[in-house]
Symmetry: C2
Subunit: 408 residues, 2 copies
């Protein structure tokens, strides 16, 4: 029997307890031993919960109980969660988490600590919710030299963009609706400013390319400036506006990573990923493009990914599973200065004012004011774009995702 | 150093040699030991190959060389491949394959043999080419009770259907083109009659639900009867014609599996899978729907999946990785008799002749003869459909994939 402690009884933590209860037969069969929740740590009281007798408020109870072999951390953030994770690993217990912030900020150190204490630190649920992506990235794609990882990594912003595109409601209205449906937090900053997507692309880039990429190294732009006008021009161009996290292998073993809204051609599989769904595309030199698609959040999908890792930890209680990567570095991550892409521009002015931009495709949209023009430029860096704009201010400047050579 | 023997130097076998050569650094790092191709077995001579010195014609050389720990079988079929696989496993060597026919027909026996000899038998490449699907199915989704697996499992037929849908060319022309491009064999029977898709859905169903499903138990219908008229009606209905393999969990621990063309609503992610791409959707009680998408065939994608398994086998040379399932049985797989779906019907006659079919949506298409009518019925079993047709012969009768509750 493998005894598990769950830290935090919020959406994911209670989902983990529920999945372990509901699917106990197949879970225990796959783990090779029974799985039992011995403790749940939460500051709140849950007198009516079926697990009422298992709640504790003092982490040292769990830390000091040698029967507990796997700790599930679903507290989130980098404060208490960081402290408890270190203490659990130091006590030789394996830790499973969905905490992308902690992994993105301290993954290197925590994996190192896990290895020192012959414990596992597993975090499949930290990216893509229930979508199996980190395991396939490390295992199944082991035969490839990976060149690029990119995707729609945040369900809240994808829901908002989908509502804007499909139903023509504004960003503010769509955000309010997402909050009412429980898809967005009361304070939506982490989602709409791209911070959540940034943490996830850090984790993906780190695994794909082998060295730690830190969130502070990744230029991040959210969707708060996207207007219905931009969405209409995208439609006219046969594209959709999507918030993408991207990580691209660079010369001299460096990596470029960033988060920004993009115009995505409808022929690209990422364009048809709607609502709260997530999708991650991985490109390798042998495999071409592979895409993983599913619910990126939600209680049961995320919990199911956590429980898969609990099973993994339980199966390897004696042999342990080690994932590891190297420490990052200031020189390792390069900015987007060298990235040349086509750009969508929305400008104040008339078509005759486009002089100096180089060849452009002019787009139309219903209801455009007379002094507005939307265009798609040829591929260039941001610096070159600024030079050609020569002081003109673009109302919008959004990168166009290049048609993938592989998928075309 | 792990010594590998490759059986068969065709498209996949030579791809495996190429991937091992091209990505040797990362592959060896992940395997925890160098990987070297010691022998290649083929009946043909390859005097100009860079591997010319490694060719052998007698399998017993490989069988009796204790240095060879991993055998890659890319011969295909159930004759020699079956014999060599048994002999390799009996000699305690792990076997990695892309041979779906052999796995679908003899997987239970071969896995059993592998376990008896503490060897691994791995076949990620047998389904979905380079798409990691069997590993995620067994590992990452371990926390779910799976209810359904379905997908576009054959790239050749998907290419043909895409050409029919997008460019309006006939089945015969599209097939000829696929052959010219090397996407279809000279004898295309296995692809166009659904036999290849049948083997793959057998393997997926077996892993997802735990007991062996044999090809002979799975009703299989290909795409040879699909006409441009059907494709046009699908378009009018907002759908696309796709060849799907499906396996659905049934009451009393049985499973329903079949292969048939379907009308797929464009809102379903499977509808946007085009050309030679494959996609597999897995539904679990916690995770909802997850989709895996990529190139289902081709030298390098398939080879990369084989090499991933070689790495897996190499990493577990001492501990071994066992996958296992139970033997199947005649009662275990049920036919599609109880499956009620909507149907697309193309009938000879006029609208007034639709009497007795129940409520239908009438479809139009350009250039339809006056005495043809296309409709979509309400959901019913095939027996009920036959009863309502009351002796009328449908020119086409194609199941409509129900809009997924989860994805809707």
């Amino acid at each position: 029997m493998i005894q598990v402690a769950i830290l935090g009884f919020g959406v994911v933590g209670s989902g983990v307890a529920e999945v372990i209860r509901r699917n106990n037969g197949p879970i225990s069969a796959r783990a090779g031993a029974g799985i039992e929740v011995k403790y749940i740590l939460d500051v709140r009281d849950f007198p009516d919960s079926p697990y009422a007798d298992r709640f504790v408020k003092d982490f040292s109870v769990i830390e000091q109980d040698p029967e507990v072999e796997v700790v599930v951390e679903t507290i989130g953030g980098c404060a208490v969660a960081y402290d408890y994770t270190k203490r659990a690993l130091n006590a030789g217990k394996s830790v499973v988490t969905s905490n992308k912030e902690l992994v993105a900020e301290h993954g290197f150190e925590l994996l190192h600590l896990a290895r020192e204490h012959t414990a596992s630190y597993l975090f499949e649920a930290s990216v893509g919710g229930g979508i199996p992506i980190l395991h396939p990235l490390t295992q199944c794609l082991a035969a490839n030299r990976l060149t690029e990882v990119q995707g729609i990594l945040n369900g809240t912003t994808n829901y908002i963009l989908t509502r804007m595109i499909t139903d023509g409601i504004s960003f503010e209205e769509a955000l309010k609706e997402a909050q009412q449906r429980g898809y967005a937090e009361h304070d939506p900053t982490d989602d709409v400013e791209g911070i959540d997507a940034c943490r996830k692309i850090c984790i993906l880039a780190t695994i794909a390319f082998g060295r730690h990429v830190y969130p502070r190294q990744v230029p991040t732009e959210g969707i708060t400036k996207i207007t219905l006008a931009d969405v209409s021009y995208a439609d006219a161009a046969g594209m959709k506006v999507k918030l993408l996290g991207r990580a691209i292998r660079q010369p001299e073993d460096r990596v470029m990573a960033y988060v920004a809204p993009h115009f995505v051609p409808v022929s690209d599989p990422l364009a048809s990923v709607e609502d709260v769904f997530n999708a991650i595309t991985v490109r390798g030199n042998a495999i071409g493009d592979v895409m993983f698609y599913g619910r990126g959040a939600g209680m049961l999908p995320t919990a199911s990914a956590v429980v898969s890792d609990v099973i993994e930890a339980a199966r390897h209680v004696r042999t342990r599973r080690f994932l590891s990567w190297e420490e990052g570095g200031e020189d390792y991550v390069v900015g987007t200065q060298t990235l040349a892409t086509q750009w969508f521009l929305r400008l104040k002015g008339a078509i005759r004012d486009l002089e100096g931009l180089g060849p452009v495709s002019i787009l139309g949209r219903a209801g455009a004011p007379e002094d507005e023009v939307g265009v798609i430029t040829e591929a260039m860096t941001r610096a070159e774009l600024e030079r050609r704009l020569a002081g003109r201010t673009a109302l919008s400047a959004i990168r166009v995702l290049d048609e993938s050579a592989d998928l075309a």
